[in-house]
């Protein structure tokens, strides 16, 4: 095959991989990014100091020096906090999980022997290096819980290695037995919320919390949970170092 013929074949083949025009769903989700993605405060402050002005001009050297001084103060403040230490406030519900924050070392209790034999509690800290998906059915209906469980089971088949799925039921709203057996057959754990956790404020509808491999919360979903494909995509992203 001549160089020109091969060149053409290669280009044709690459053109064949072109998925076509951008789908409307992506265009819509991209347009909503500035509205739905808050820029972290630290980043905003940094950009306000050293970033471009309205006309896109670079920041002045004086601004850069000021920024470095502020950065130094920030580092000193963090170092002081680390030295002194702090105790996280007790959790009262899944809403206390915040994206970007470490998942607190919270023990979920056993529900009627649903944890592996010998374990009475489980927490995110028991699963070092794992992606952890915490599903809280809350007070969802049995049908809704079963549908969510099916999505979780489907996603678990394609999830990155070392992904743990933990389904956490409230004592006041137990999961239907047939859904529990589905969950167990898929190799997921079922645990109970800590005592008094769902009393005030109430847990409410279903929620999903995904932590990354470092135990930091990456995603929190409430009511509208991702489907299996979206969940696998989120897990892929959470898996990235």
């Amino acid at each position: 095959m001549t160089d020109a013929a091969f060149d053409r074949r290669l280009r044709d083949w690459l053109d064949g991989r072109d998925p076509g025009p951008v789908p409307a769903s992506l265009r819509e989700s991209a347009a909503s990014v500035p509205l739905q993605t808050p820029v972290p405060a630290v980043s905003r402050v940094w950009q306000a100091i050293v970033g471009p002005g309205a006309a896109g001009r670079p920041g002045s050297p004086a601004r850069l020096v000021l920024a470095l001084v502020l950065l130094g103060l920030l580092v000193a403040a963090v170092a002081t906090l680390v030295t002194v230490g702090s105790t996280p406030a007790p959790l009262t519900g899944w809403r206390d999980y915040v994206v970007g924050q470490p998942a607190p070392d919270l023990d979920f209790g056993s529900v009627a022997g649903t944890l592996p034999r010998g374990d009475s509690t489980i927490s995110v800290d028991d699963l070092p290096g794992a992606l952890v998906v915490l599903y809280f059915p809350g007070e969802a209906t049995a049908e809704r819980t079963a549908a969510d469980a099916r999505a979780l089971i489907q996603a678990s088949g394609h999830a990155p290695n070392a992904t743990a799925f933990v389904v956490i039921a409230a004592e006041s709203a137990p999961i239907a037995p047939d859904t529990v057996s589905l969950i167990h057959d898929a190799g997921m754990l079922t645990a109970a919320t800590p005592a008094g956790w769902d009393a005030d404020p109430p847990i409410g509808g279903p929620a999903l919390v995904i932590t990354g491999r470092g135990g930091v919360v990456e995603y929190v979903f409430a009511s509208e949970l991702p489907d299996a494909d979206q969940l696998v995509g989120d897990l892929d992203r959470a898996s990235l170092p």
């Binding site: 095959m1 064949g16 998925p19 951008v22 972290p40 306000a48 992203r237 898996s239």
Partner: protein
């Protein structure tokens, strides 16, 4: 109150400016991601991730007329990371099901051979090949986009092309 309104207005203007810049790049970015990743869903995810990352760093972009190259660099890095991540774990790769094909110029067997050869390339080689032969970028532009010297890009393209050619050549030789 006036200060808050001014701040909100500035944020709105910034968001609108970002929207306009992204809208102009989105189609090309999605298509390029599709070519590199070979999967429309992954392409959609990667492009969305690129938009989010670009938004979070938008304040650090000094020249808005360079947004295209800047956004392209973010996208290519995300695609490369995804390919590396995929290489570390076994997962079924969904082909682009209804991708346009032209049977007059590309036989099905050839496509499968090229698919396999492309999948066997390293992420860096795949990215270089797609940028050169699909996006039609010159070597210097690819070098700037992926952040390596032009010589490295040339070498990657050369190696990638030879391996793709070998894949077809070996089959043609074997079928004779």
């Amino acid at each position: 109150m006036t200060e808050q309104i001014e701040r909100a207005t500035a944020a709105d203007e910034r968001g609108a400016a970002f929207d306009g810049l992204v809208a102009a790049e989105l189609d090309g970015a999605y298509r390029l991601a599709g070519v590199i990743l070979g999967d429309r869903w992954q392409a959609e995810d990667a492009t969305h991730d690129a938009v989010v990352q670009a938004w979070l760093r938008f304040g650090s972009l000094r020249e808005q007329d360079r947004f295209g190259a800047w956004f392209g660099r973010i996208l290519v890095n995300i695609c490369r990371d995804r390919l590396r991540e995929k290489a570390r774990r076994p997962i079924a790769v969904r082909a682009v099901a209804d991708a346009p094909t032209d049977d007059r110029t590309t036989a099905v067997d050839d496509r499968l051979l090229l698919d396999d050869a492309f999948a066997a390339l390293s992420p860096d080689h795949r990215v270089a090949l797609a940028l050169r032969y699909y996006a039609d970028l010159p070597v210097e532009a690819i070098a700037e986009l992926v952040g390596v010297p032009a010589g490295t890009v040339k070498s990657r393209i050369h190696v990638a092309v030879e391996r793709m050619r070998d894949a077809l050549g070996a089959d043609e030789g074997g079928s004779r």
